[in-house]
Amino acid sequence: MKTFCLIALMAVTAGAAARAQSSTITAPQPLRATDIYADSMVFDGNGHTVTYHRNVRVIAPDMKLTCALLVADLPPSGGHVSRIVAETNVVIDFLDGKGQTNHATSDKAIYDYNMQGTLTNETVTLTGHASVTNAQGSWIKGEPITWDRVNNRVSAPNEQMSIKQNTSSVMGSTNSPAPKTNKPVAPKLF
């Protein structure tokens, strides 16, 4: 896994993991609600899909998504949504573990969820002009960008990255000299 995978979104998913962990030891929490707005919707009772058209907005406690078309596969017997495809001008703003907003854009975003035995696979795949930018302005581009939500990793083949230093933290640091090395110091992106 490349550098980005080691530093990017660890905080994001750490926050999610913390929430999951806390939910196991604390009292029952109120249900989360996700709102979906759209101009129109088609429910296919035979195909078990719901399709939202035009001006689609998904608003969850830690994420906002907009796109022009969104298709969700519904499991016939209920339970977890297995696949969601968002298409055309996909914009996702999500909170990381620090509560900072990250910004993702792509032509298409695919959420997949499945269980194979005891293993859970849960990924979000961004394709088509995909990029993720954090609150500091650092960004990653690649085709596709895959967010493995189970293993808390983001990866992209042939990735391009731009890392912006947090100058305020550098200015406010002590006078200790910077380590002499030829390797660039990679700040935390997310």
Binding site: F43, N46, A60
Partner: protein
């Protein structure tokens, strides 16, 4: 899925309504029925399982095998009998010839477990292929547990 000769259960006026509508272009508001019910069953081997049930508190005939149904309630079931979704609307026009229901008015939809709710204005329900289109101002609410995430 074919709507077979879907069971149309109307109260005492039913026979008169349908014969009038088909035979002599019954004018609107000539009569009305209460407790309208239209049931569709699954094909074999689940032919004893109800696929959907469309009910209305009142049904008023129009020309062209149309019915104005008040207080529409459409229930959809899975092959094991569990409710999949419930649709409710104050009023709709039911086309007996094409097995469709539509309205420009408001509609509410709820999944069988109540965790997904949707509403909007203007809809078309095609019974033959179980398609429900909500045309305007769609709002869906999905409730999940605190540790559950629907993704994205």
């Amino acid at each position: 899925m074919k709507w077979s000769s879907a069971v149309l259960v109307l109260s005492a006026f039913a026979a008169l309504i349908f014969s009038g509508a088909r035979g002599r272009a019954q004018p609107a508001a000539a009569s009305h029925a209460t407790d309208f019910t239209n049931v569709e069953y699954y094909a074999q081997p689940n032919q004893t399982q109800m696929k959907s049930r469309l009910t209305g508190a009142e049904a008023q005939p129009l020309a062209g095998e149309l019915l104005i149904i008040k207080h529409l309630k459409l229930e959809m079931f899975s092959t094991n009998g569990h409710p999949q979704a419930v649709v409710e609307a104050p009023e709709c026009v039911y086309d007996m010839r094409n097995n469709t229901a539509n309205s420009a008015g408001h509609l509410q939809l709820q999944s069988g477990d109540g965790k997904i709710r949707a509403e909007g204005d203007g809809f078309l329900w095609r019974q033959d292929d179980s398609f429900l289109t909500i045309s305007n101002h769609v709002h869906t609410v999905i409730e999940t547990g605190p540790e559950v995430n629907i993704g994205l």
